[in-house]
């Protein structure tokens, strides 16, 4: 395998792994703000035990996110030196701004949140949960700014073979930044909520610490429903933006080979790039034109507008997107059903639903990975859309064998990290609430 492919595999692996933990922390951080404000209002031992438990789970997840985040920051230089030289004037700034504005905030106040239960005033302790959540959410903004510039570059000019910044706000808030940011944050809220929901469901299934598990169950169920709707609507906004600014990606996502008016929306099918057709297609006539341009008769650009050499790999763009949409619909139905069952507290004892919630923990993680694959593979063969090709972006001074070694190092150490995280979270779950008082909330009588 050549250095380009190895570097791509390594980057995809390390970023994909990081993108499991970072979104959970963004979602959990806001749920913890709610739990901390409950504790601040009631001051009860129960609410304290709940918040305390979730702060510990958060800290474990955060630690993996930080450790794997350092790798991402190094890799632009280690593996993509030509890219770094080309875009550094623009791309480095959001990464530095992330460190300056978010990382210090997040890591300092996480230590305060973790260790401040007794040595701080409740008010300062509560505020630190807000600061952690703000830091995590702001950090996501800088990263999406950087990545969106690769998708829809703006606010730059090319001087002497390098992209040079001409307008900071235009570059930062390029056409895809905001839809992608809100789509990602909504997905992170969804992922964090379903994580909390599944773990709470486990306690309810075991009939252990039920008073301790119900408030986070209800809270995360409600947020799952809201977030799953937000993901869908903002996802639509994002798709409209892609139709305008990255038509080739939209065509690949939808398997649209020919430019046409009244373009159909593909519900199912298997695209065949060689014959330029979609097998077993199930279509909604005019659906794509309507979704992309709000007009069922609008013309949608097909793959025929782009030379086949510049198409993204079709299966890796088409299938991840459609699977993601299927999962997105599942999340809405699943959480909507749960909210209906919440009346009279039926859901707390409805074992099939609790099992479903537990087994669904990995699904948002899969959906978020699929979305990321669609976004990144759909941009190929470009590393910066229509400005620089991925193959031209690598570090020429690094031999392929060294990349192979590093890839193996990352695979082994990340596996260790994952096992450590899984066992540590499992141990906290088995240990349950830490308190010296019996936890009887008002819900127990219900």
């Amino acid at each position: 395998m050549d250095a380009v492919m190895l570097s791509r595999i390594q980057f995809a692996f390390t970023v994909g792994f990081h993108f499991l933990f970072a979104p959970i922390t963004i979602g959990l951080a806001w749920l913890i703000v709610v739990l901390m404000s409950r504790y601040r209002r009631s001051g009860s031992a129960l609410d304290r035990a709940i918040a305390h438990f979730w702060v510990k789970i958060f800290a474990l997840t955060f630690a993996v996110g930080v450790a794997t985040g350092i790798t991402m920051e190094f890799e632009f230089g280690t593996n993509w030196a030509a890219y770094s030289r080309f875009v550094g004037d623009i791309f480095g700034a959001p990464l530095a701004a992330e460190g300056i504005t978010s990382f210090f905030l997040e890591s300092s106040f996480l230590a305060v949140l973790l260790l401040g239960w007794t040595r701080l005033s409740p008010r300062v302790h509560y505020i630190s949960s807000w600061l952690v959540a703000l830091g995590a959410t702001l950090s996501g903004l800088w990263i999406i700014i950087a990545n969106s510039w690769m998708q829809t570059p703006a606010g730059y000019t090319i001087v002497g073979g390098r992209a040079v910044l001409t307008d900071f706000l235009a570059a930062a808030f390029n056409p895809s930044t905001l839809p992608r940011y809100f789509h990602t944050i909504a997905a992170a809220l969804l992922m964090g909520s379903m994580f909390m929901l599944g773990i709470s469901a486990w306690y309810l299934l075991k009939k252990q610490h039920e008073a301790f598990a119900r408030p986070p169950f209800t809270l995360s169920l409600s947020l799952t429903f809201v977030a799953s709707l937000l993901v869908l609507f903002i996802g639509h906004w994002h798709a409209v933006e892609v139709a305008h600014f990255q038509p080739t990606k939209l065509a690949a996502i939808e398997g649209l080979f020919d430019t046409q008016r009244h373009a159909p929306l593909l519900v199912f099918g298997i695209p065949d790039p060689a014959q330029r057709t979609v097998h077993y297609a199930v279509r909604i006539p005019g659906g794509l034109s309507w979704l992309a341009h709000n007009d069922a008769d609008a013309e949608v650009a097909g793959l025929d507008q782009t030379p086949a050499a510049d198409w993204p790999p079709l299966p890796l763009t088409f299938f991840p997107f459609h699977l993601m949409v299927v999962l997105g619909c599942y999340f809405i139905g699943f959480s909507g059903l749960g909210l209906l069952l919440l009346r009279n507290g039926v859901v707390y004892r409805f074992r099939p639903y609790l099992w479903l919630a537990l087994l669904s923990i990995p699904l948002p993680a899969i959906a978020i990975q699929l979305g990321w694959i669609t976004a990144e593979v759909g941009r190929q063969p470009w590393i910066v859309y229509q400005l620089m090709r991925t193959a031209e972006a690598i570090s020429v001074s690094v031999p392929a064998v060294q990349i192979l070694i590093s890839l193996l190092v990352f695979i082994s150490i990340y596996s260790l990290l994952f096992i450590w995280w899984f066992l540590a979270v499992r141990r906290e779950i088995l240990r349950g609430p830490e308190t010296d008082q019996p936890l009887t909330g008002p819900e127990v009588a219900a």
Partner: protein, 338 residues
């Protein structure tokens, strides 16, 4: 433009020196961790770094990202040029983090012993790699006109760079021991002062050897000092700070000794950055050297980022002071209650 480039040189080194003096104490504490025998002392050392070590690494992350933003060619050259070393560095950071987390929760003393070794070895490897990397930058790299390092991995392991690496270990060993003396209680502070004393002698001897071999190994580093003799004040002040470590430590003034060590670390870095100036990465062929003027980002990028730093840096200093005040007391061997 010249003002902006110099501002960024200063900001960059604020982050890196901040990293070295902060993460330096927990890396250094990691070396000594292995020399203690009892569980109680090990627990105390971990508690002394517990609330800080994860946050300390943020200084390196931000320093690295600032290098990318302000001097992209330098970032690209160094990170791709030191490829395998940086991968080992990353693995060291992660392995060390896992070791710190796991040893605290491990009931079996035997397995806990293995994690202790991993923690210490991780700390030593990280320090050695950072020192060797800095030694190579000081010495100069065989760069081509694009800035690619044409040397091999084994070229990085030259005697001069290894000397700087070992010097870095001695320096941070002193620093870590002083932190232990400052933050722990019982018999440990007295023991840590003795450790600091022996590591201090090592630091002194290695610093002298590095200075003595520099005219032969990296003569270009002396040019600035020859042209502007006043600059010798910088190494002189560094030597003074080094001396004060010994004086204060002997008087059991632990905070003063630790701060003197902070100044000494800062002094060594500032003296060597001054020796490089205006180069950032010297190349064997001087035409290809990366300098402050040929390797910086554009005026607009430097300006926008400077505004962000001017707003952000006071907050960063504020958070750091806040957490250090919150955990200012000397620690005992009790487990921190998370």
């Amino acid at each position: 433009m010249i003002v902006l480039q110099h501002s960024w040189l200063v900001i960059l080194w604020i982050f890196f020196i901040g990293y070295l003096v902060l993460d330096g104490f927990d890396l250094g504490a990691g070396f000594w961790h292995l020399l203690t025998r009892g569980e109680e002392e090990r627990r105390m050392i971990l508690n002394a770094i517990g609330p800080f070590w994860d946050g300390n690494e943020v200084w390196l992350i931000t320093g690295g990202a600032s290098l990318f933003a302000a001097f992209p060619p330098v970032y690209a050259t160094i990170f791709s040029g030191f490829y395998l070393a940086l991968i080992v560095l990353l693995a060291g950071f992660m392995f060390r983090a896992i070791a710190i987390e796991l040893r605290g929760k491990e009931p079996s003393p035997r397995i806990r012993g293995y994690w202790d070794i991993a923690f210490a070895v991780g700390s030593i490897v990280i320090t050695l790699l950072l020192g060797v990397a800095w030694g190579n930058i000081l010495r100069g790299l065989p760069l081509d006109q694009v800035g690619n390092n044409t040397g091999s991995f084994f070229d990085l392991l030259n005697p001069y760079s290894l000397l700087i690496g070992v010097f870095g270990i001695a320096l941070l060993a002193t620093h870590g021991a002083l932190w232990i003396a400052l933050k722990t209680s019982g018999d440990l502070p007295a023991k840590a002062r003795r450790w600091a004393g022996s590591a201090w002698i090592g630091t002194l001897l290695l610093a002298l050897s590095a200075i003595l071999v520099t005219p032969a190994a990296a003569p270009h580093l002396l040019t600035n000092y020859m042209v502007h003799p006043l600059l010798w004040l910088l190494p002189a002040l560094t030597a003074l700070a080094l001396l004060l470590i010994k004086v204060y430590s002997a008087q059991q003034r632990d905070l003063a000794a630790f701060l003197a060590s902070v100044c000494a670390i800062g002094g060594f870095i500032i003296s060597s950055v001054t020796a490089l100036y205006p180069r950032m990465v010297p190349a064997d062929n001087p035409q290809f050297s990366l300098t402050l003027s040929n390797a910086s980002s554009s005026f607009l990028t430097l300006k926008v980022m400077l505004i962000i730093v001017i707003i952000g840096l006071p907050f960063i200093v504020g958070y750091t002071v806040f957490t250090h005040r919150l955990f200012a007391a000397r620690v005992t061997a009790d487990q921190f209650h998370y």
